[in-house]
Amino acid sequence: MALLRAILVRLLTTAITLFGVAVIVFVVIRVVPGNPIAMMLPPGATEADIARLQMQYGFDKSIFEQFTIWLSGVVQGDFGTSISLRQPVSLLVLNRLPATLELSIVALLIAVLIGGTMALVGTRFRDTGAEGAIDMGAGMALSIPDFLWGLVLILLFGVLWPVFHISGRISPSLDIDFTTNFYLFEALFRLRFDVLADLIGHMFMPAVALAIPLAAIIAQLLKQSLKETMHLDYVTLARTKGYAERTVITREALPNAILPTLTLVGVQFTFLIGGTVIIERLFSYEGLGNMAIDAVINRDLPLIQGIVILFALIFTLVNLVVDMMYVVLNPRLRHA
């Protein structure tokens, strides 16, 4: 009951947060320089032409009136029409969201795999040269931003040893009609391994570029937690029982040490989704981030609003899920 109430309260605060984000974004993008009408003015435009265009796109009204009209549409699921793409914003962002989600999830999995392995190996070989090497590797991974990792990967696996695709999400020559925009999951579900291989070939470099900094954070934090746990009594007891060190780490220490990392992964996942904006651009990956950059360049205000609201919604939902998972995984909170 208490859990249900907590969820309801959280959902309410989420709604308030989204409204706040909507207000801020709506006002800010109209205040900053760069009028979309000025960008589309033909050479011989007269004052009447400018007025007609402003009326056509609703920019002749006050910001408050524009916001009210937009919000009433949003409540009914209508986020307006993109100025540059001339299609409903809701359709555009929902079509793109799966690409970004798939990329982010794969990147997260890679980060957890690499970071977790580094932490476990570092703990197993703590206070040795191996741990030093892992710390050094993590430090290096953190000090280089993801887009630079992207360029390094393009050079290595795109040019010098060209085994992965440099741009796009899927090869244009592939003959497949997807029923959803979750290409990766759908290819897996339909057992189209040729398509799956092609999708991975496109996704590998952007996902790894996104994953590297997060993997380093996971490695550092999890290793630190594990090392602290390794001195606790129940771990010593397990060791006394004769368990192998590997078993002690994975079965006894890991379940307790993982909680702080889980929280961090949740928070970092939202940053990871934010990171897709640059990475998707670099790899010409047809996700939400790539579309966001175009929307900003073109001052496509309805599209910017739609994308930001969707990002905000994802961020709050991810945080909500992480909080719930924390409660489920932590017995002290679960029984409180």
Partner: protein
């Protein structure tokens, strides 16, 4: 886990197998031409919305749709769907002959009715054609046989030139009316050399050759254009063999890559120019300051040092390809003259004249670096300019509101090469694209808009350009050169408009 030789071999084999699953194909013979393009294609209707006036995407449109009147690679006007055209004797009517035997991509015949519908639609303000101010100058568009006529409401000397320019495309009346705007966006058809086979927004467009194209079927039967907006990625695409053709890479990379085996480069001037708008406010109302600023810039030095020699210095807003180009109009690099002019107004290296210059950074090749170099040259003669970096969107807004800084770097495209679409719109005060409000220039330009005598009209524009150069009302800098890289198996014909057109590409 013990690391044995066997486990190491297994791991290596697994890694190699994984790494090759997504391996791109590197076919020696080019069956499917792949182009890494530098911009996205936002929308398929080439006659409405902001995309319609975006010069950088006209290459996509010209692959699928036909302009009323096409332009040859050297910007001369050719014969297209409109085979012949002109005015009647008293210029109260226009007439156009429509090519017979042309079909749309769906097999329907292209008729004079399609031309009538396209022109009427373009001239109707409600349809949202941004160039309606031109198309709306004719009315009562009618077809009789394959001849289309229209009444002239207001004489526009450049009317037929616009038929080769922005929004000057013929669309299929019957199909468009059947599927509507949304249906057309989802499945566009035209009469151009290629048909749209597959389109993934922000990713690629796959084109199939139109075997029935009136101008002859293109050589490459399938063309994939990938939208690769990042320059470093485009370099990697061509270097790795993933793309056969790419464009707009940094000049240093262009020189490096074209020296490699299997990659060739072509770099030709295009119709885009770099220039500095001067707004007649603050110190720019002083002709001495403007002239000093103009004479202090060594354009050739900038082209050589910053653009690796890829650029053509210009002294008016006309490039050598334009009809009103006059090579006798010169603004020499003369720093001593600049110093003397500034001294006349009480300025000098010890008492510099100060103003702000705005520029984009990374919007055009070396834009910011060029402005930095110019500011350095200015400093030597007694001009202290502060650089303000802004986004291109802000430039448009400030320019439309006539609130640009005293100096502002910009680029201007004019593929039809008419002076109205260069000097005219850039320097005529009432234009939303001009920040120059000088009465003398206004008085010289105003009568030229509707001038019916072509020779007199061009002579008039040349006089305007001379006046502008003498008064330094704008600082033209250079004509851009477009770098195109391609694999040795492809022959690329560059187009002066800057549009990269796959139907002009052949196997070499």
């Amino acid at each position: 886990m013990k690391l044995s030789r066997r486990s190491l071999l297994k791991t290596t084999a697994a890694a190699a197998a994984f790494a090759t699953v997504g391996l791109p194909s590197f076919a020696q013979a080019i069956d499917e031409l792949v182009i890494a393009y530098n911009v996205n294609l936002p929308s398929w209707d080439p006659t409405v919305g902001p995309s319609a006036v975006n010069p950088t995407i006209q290459g996509f449109y010209q692959s699928v749709f036909d302009l009323y009147i096409p332009q040859n690679p050297d910007l001369s006007f050719g014969q297209g769907i409109i085979t012949d055209y002109g005015w009647n004797d008293d210029q109260s009517q226009i007439w156009m002959d429509v090519r017979e035997g042309v079909t749309w991509h769906n097999g329907d015949p292209l008729t004079a009715e399609d031309v009538v519908w396209s022109l009427t639609r373009a001239g109707t303000a409600e349809t949202g054609n941004p160039i309606q101010f031109i198309w709306g100058k004719v009315a009562n568009v009618q077809a009789e046989g394959n001849r289309v006529t229209a009444d002239v409401k207001e004489y526009e000397p450049t009317f037929f030139k616009w038929m080769s320019f922005l929004t000057g495309y013929i669309l299929p009346k019957k199909y468009y009316e059947e599927v509507g705007a949304e249906g057309f966006e989802a499945a566009p058809i035209g009469s151009g050399p290629y048909m749209v086979e597959k389109f993934e927004r922000n990713a690629f467009v796959r084109l199939k050759a139109n075997e029935n194209y009136w101008g002859g079927a293109p050589e490459f039967k399938t063309v994939t254009i990938k939208f690769v907006t990042d320059a470093a990625s485009r370099v990697a695409e061509i270097e790795s063999g993933n793309a056969h053709v790419t464009l707009e890479v940094p000049y240093e990379e262009f020189d490096r890559l074209k020296a490699k085996d299997g990659i060739e480069g072509v770099a030709e001037p295009i119709s885009d120019i770099g220039m500095i708008f001067l707004n007649d406010i603050e110190v720019m109302t002083d002709p001495n300051v403007r002239k000093a600023a103009a004479h202090a810039i060594d354009k050739q030095l900038i082209v050589d040092r910053l653009l690796s020699g890829y650029g053509v210095p210009i002294d008016t807003l006309q490039t050598p390809d334009y009809i009103a180009f006059d090579d006798t109009i010169k603004v020499e690099f003369d720093p001593e003259k600049s110093k003397a002019l500034l001294a006349e107004s009480g300025f000098g290296p010890d008492n510099p004249v100060k103003f702000t210059i705005q520029t984009t950074k990374g919007f055009k090749p070396k834009d910011y670096e060029m402005v930095q170099a110019i500011v350095g040259l200015w400093r030597k003669v007694g001009i202290e300019a502060e650089i303000e970096v802004y986004e291109i969107a802000k430039h448009y807004e400030l320019r439309a509101a006539d609130t640009l800084a005293p100096a502002a770097f910009y680029n201007w495209g004019n593929s039809v090469g008419d002076p109205t679409t260069s000097t005219g719109f850039a320097m005529f005060g009432p234009s939303p694209h001009s920040v120059w409000d000088g009465q003398d220039t206004f008085d010289m330009i105003a009568p030229l808009w509707g001038e019916k005598d072509e020779a007199k009209r061009i002579a008039g524009w040349k006089a305007v350009d001379r006046h502008i150069a003498e008064q330094a009302e704008v600082i033209p800098l250079l004509q851009y050169v477009q770098p195109i890289l391609h694999v040795a198996g492809v022959n690329v014909v560059p187009h002066r408009s800057g549009a990269l057109l796959p139907h002009l590409m052949t196997r070499s």
